[in-house]
């Protein structure tokens, strides 16, 4: 399996940490109504070993396998789907104790009578990865349309078995690669933490569908294992953050006064 080598200066994730993360590429609406989303699997370590990608759809407990081709995973859906996507690498070459976990959530609005291809994950694989920790985004107000300026809550827990967690929050340090700059996030002694992405001038100008991808990452040690976890967060610009009600009501009031004046002046003579 070949992965892209991403220069550290571009993504600014420390190269020696060997992180694995998702990078969102083009979303495409197919003619048959299906929607496909290409996602690049990026690893900063050239010696990364076997990586497997799985996903879950909506509230379905079934786990599906997503094949990786040339470092790109293509998800195809035929109905509106909330997808939880994971990538695991348990055997990076030369570092057998290291485990890399990438996670993200996305929503795709497919609408087609042609069923999308799905491959059920191998139970053996699922069991191998089930207990691995990952960064999980807790549901928020705009659960699929995450926006800048909004407080997003996360936690660290096993990705496929979220109820069984014996992770020690002791020495975990969370970072976020926010708009190409690294920022440390504070944790309050538990596995929960929050992130409020700052507004982005580019997103404001580009349009309502424009996206920014931030990456939350951490390393942690647990039972002689080293974990390198990432979460790829897709962000849109804030929908309501730039709304000013006072200005709106002022314009409304002024417009009403002007129209009332105009009508009162002219209503004696029919228009």
């Amino acid at each position: 399996m070949v992965f892209c080598l991403m220069p550290a200066m571009v993504f600014a994730i420390p190269q020696d940490k060997n992180f694995l993360y998702f990078k969102f590429l083009e979303m495409k609406k197919e003619k048959n109504g299906q929607v496909s989303q290409a996602i690049e699997l990026v690893c900063t370590d050239p010696a990364v070993g076997a990586v497997k990608v799985f996903y879950r759809e909506n509230s379905d407990p079934a786990v599906f396998f997503a094949p990786v081709k040339d470092g790109i995973v293509t998800l195809i859906v035929d109905k509106p789907s909330r997808i939880s996507l994971f990538a695991f690498s348990t055997n990076p070459a030369g570092f057998p104790e290291k485990k890399l976990v990438a996670h993200t959530n996305l929503v795709l609005f497919g609408k087609s009578s042609v069923p999308a291809p799905r491959i059920m994950a191998d139970d053996i694989d699922v069991n191998r990865f089930a207990g691995l920790p990952g960064i999980e985004l807790l549901s928020s107000e705009n659960y699929y349309w995450h926006q800048t300026g909004q407080v997003l809550k996360f936690c660290i827990k096993p990705v496929l078995e979220p109820d069984s967690s014996d992770i020690d929050p002791g020495n975990i340090r969370i970072f976020v690669l926010e708009n190409h700059k690294i920022r440390r996030l504070t944790m309050d002694g538990t596995l929960d933490f929050s992130y409020d992405p700052a507004h982005d001038e580019r997103l404001r100008k580009t349009g309502v569908t424009a996206i920014r991808q931030d990456i939350l990452y951490t390393t942690m040690e647990e039972k002689n294992q080293k974990y390198f976890l990432t979460y790829s967060l897709l962000l849109h610009r804030s929908r309501k953050g730039f709304n000013d009600i006072f200005s709106g009501v002022s314009v409304l009031g002024t417009s009403m006064i002007l129209f009332i004046g105009l009508i009162l002046k002219k209503r004696r003579t029919p228009w």
Partner: protein
């Protein structure tokens, strides 16, 4: 009396449309009336929004129109037709919640004995094409976004300026749509325009009945499809004495019914099926609303004398 019946229907439908979603009523997103999607907890959505959206509306690449995915656009339209065909323009005066809001605003004016603003026939004729222009724009702008790289902040152009967007959510206690959006120049322009239009419309609706309806692109869309509806509004040309009651009692002062001397069909583009003209017509069976050939309501001298002696 027909007017009381209409008002009763309008109030019931208002409650259903605005609050029905909270009771689990889901009527889909292809309704031929202003049940605004910006009202959370509403029972269904106005079809105009779907028309402007991507995948299900016209914000779609041209090649999609010639593929199987066009079904995604046709399906909501089919649902819209399913709702529209049986009632045609009766949706406007008997069901549309925004129409009722306008009637309430007019009622306040009437309570204060304030006279209506009168528009000449010339002005009214000049206004007529506006709704068609809006309809064309709400189709072409999304097309341009999907095909000609128009900035995506032009999305849902009509919804962005529709006065229903800030006004209707007021009924669920949300007044946050009265704002200026400073995200960028386009959003600022749209929100500014929205506030100016809303202000103008509120004033217009106060001084003139159904002021907004004169500009409503839904009415334009309905009028284009009126031929496939079983609702007919007919006039017996040879019994009309030209008293003008129909024009005066019409909320939007349609002159065509009064002036028509040749054609039997008088369901004009601005008609909303409120039947006020039928109620005011003194000539027996001269104006008639029909549904599948059945007479829904017909004018009569005795009805007129009874109604207006009690008003």
């Amino acid at each position: 009396m027909v007017e009381s019946l209409r008002l009763f229907c309008q109030h019931i439908s208002f409650l259903i449309m605005i609050y029905g979603g909270r009771l689990g009523i889901r009527l889909g997103n292809s309704l031929p009336c202003f049940t605004c999607p910006y009202v959370s907890g509403c029972a269904g959505h106005c079809y105009l929004m779907v028309l402007q959206r991507s995948s299900v509306g016209f914000q779609t690449a041209f090649d999609i129109f010639f593929s199987g995915a066009v079904f995604n656009i046709l399906w909501p339209f089919a649902v819209f037709l399913l709702f529209f065909i049986p009632l045609s323009k009766l949706w406007c005066s008997w069901i549309c919640p925004f129409c009722l809001v306008q009637d309430w605003i007019s009622l306040v004016r009437k309570k204060f004995y304030i006279r209506e603003m009168i528009l000449t026939r010339k002005t009214r004729n000049n206004i007529k094409p506006v709704k068609y222009i809006l309809l064309v724009l709400l189709i072409t702008i999304p097309l341009a976004i999907a095909n000609f790289n128009l900035h995506s902040d032009w999305a849902l152009p009509f919804c962005q300026i529709c006065p229903g967007k800030p006004i209707l959510p007021l009924f669920q206690g949300n007044w946050s749509y009265f704002h200026i959006n400073y995200t960028n120049g386009i959003t600022m322009a749209f929100s500014f325009l929205s506030m100016v239009i809303t202000g103008g419309m509120l004033v217009g609706m106060f001084f003139r009945e159904r002021f907004f309806c004169m500009f409503c692109p839904m009415l334009a869309l309905m009028h284009l499809l009126k031929a496939i509806s079983p609702v007919r509004f007919e006039k017996k040309i040879h019994t009309c004495t030209g008293c003008g009651n129909c024009e005066r009692s019409c909320p939007v002062d349609i002159p065509d019914v009064h002036l028509e001397k040749v054609k039997k069909n008088v369901l004009t583009q601005d008609c909303m099926g409120c039947m006020s003209c039928v109620e005011a017509c003194p000539a027996d069976h001269t104006l008639t609303f029909k549904w599948f050939g059945f007479r829904l309501f017909s004018s009569s001298r005795s009805y007129l004398s009874r109604k207006w002696s009690q008003k």
